[in-house]
Symmetry: C2
DNA sequence: TATTGTTATACTCTATAACTATA
DNA sequence: TATAGTTATAGAGTATAACAATA
């Protein structure tokens, strides 16, 4: 049951004329899903030349800004299981974006680094993503300024509800 | 050696201390992804008794409000391919939520309907989802009022960008 | 004993393509 | 020809469980 992401490649979620959406139209969660769906498709359009999903883009940025990052820590930052971080890293290395290097001090762990080619390719990709994002914020005008703050707060609030003591069987803290 | 229990809550996209997120923290799209991740997990917590994903919940509402809905139209409303709508419908019927009935006027298509049991179960499920959503909006206070409007606008704007001809930026009414 | 990463496996979601029946 | 639904298959994405090497 642990599906934390919305399904990634999707078609457009347009409101269909003549269909009654009932309570869905009133739900914050449904509005969020619609927005994410549209943004996802737009991200793909804006970065088609690189063939990198939003998740993989995030991984590349994290490795670039944290050279030597452990595989497991990368997964933790992205909400992935260890095995998921492995698959993700496998893909990044197979595509020549990143590489595993030995990590001084702990022979169990890898240190992740971008390859020279990965660094070169990431620069224009980051610029394309930033431009794509900025275009949306610009189109939103004043709303754009408050929307991001609202989303960050929403993430915090939803997490707080999920992890409140009464809501879920408590897990041990490590 | 191996632990049968995982002590860490997995799936949460929490900011990891000591990790530099670089430009990700500044992106509207990344804030959206974090919020959606948190909301998804919270939805599961709030509706655990029904074992229905957000997508399946949306399908149930659409069928309830549009009795006799065609399978393909359901998929269109949800951004799914026909084959995806088929799998979704298969699940709903297998679980006893919905059923396919012959559709008068077109022998090719099914009309989808909730079963009596499905109707009975949907009522409290809708209430639980509404309560879950309302709790979030309440916790957000004033921001909650504007956030939903901002998300709806964002979905519109991103869709417009995606479907704009060529790379020409789409003019947008503010 | 706990961790880091790996291997193997399975399940979900989604897509494409070819097919049948009907329009 | 076009549409509605189905079947078969493939590919991400993520999960669990068992394992080896290391701490």
């Amino acid at each position: 049951m642990n599906k934390t992401d919305s399904p990634e490649p999707e078609g457009l979620m347009l409101p269909v004329p003549g269909v009654d959406y009932g309570p869905l139209d009133g739900l914050l969660g449904y509005a969020l899903r619609r927005a994410q769906n549209a943004l996802y498709l737009d991200f793909y359009r804006a970065t088609a030349a690189w063939d990198v999903s939003p998740q993989r883009f995030a991984a590349l940025v994290l490795i670039a800004r944290n050279p030597g990052l452990r595989q497991g820590l990368l997964g933790q930052a992205m909400g992935l299981h260890r095995s998921g971080a492995l698959r993700l890293t496998d893909w990044l290395t197979a595509q020549g974006w990143a590489e595993r290097r030995d990590r001084p001090g702990d022979a169990r762990a890898w240190g992740l680094h971008l390859t020279p080619a990965g660094k070169r390719r990431l620069t224009p990709l980051e610029a394309a993503v930033a431009a794509h994002d900025a275009a949306l914020v610009t189109a939103l005008g004043e709303q754009g300024l408050t929307l991001k703050a609202g989303l960050e707060r929403l993430a915090w609030v939803a997490t707080a509800q999920s992890t409140a003591p009464d809501n879920e069987p408590r897990r041990q803290k490590t």
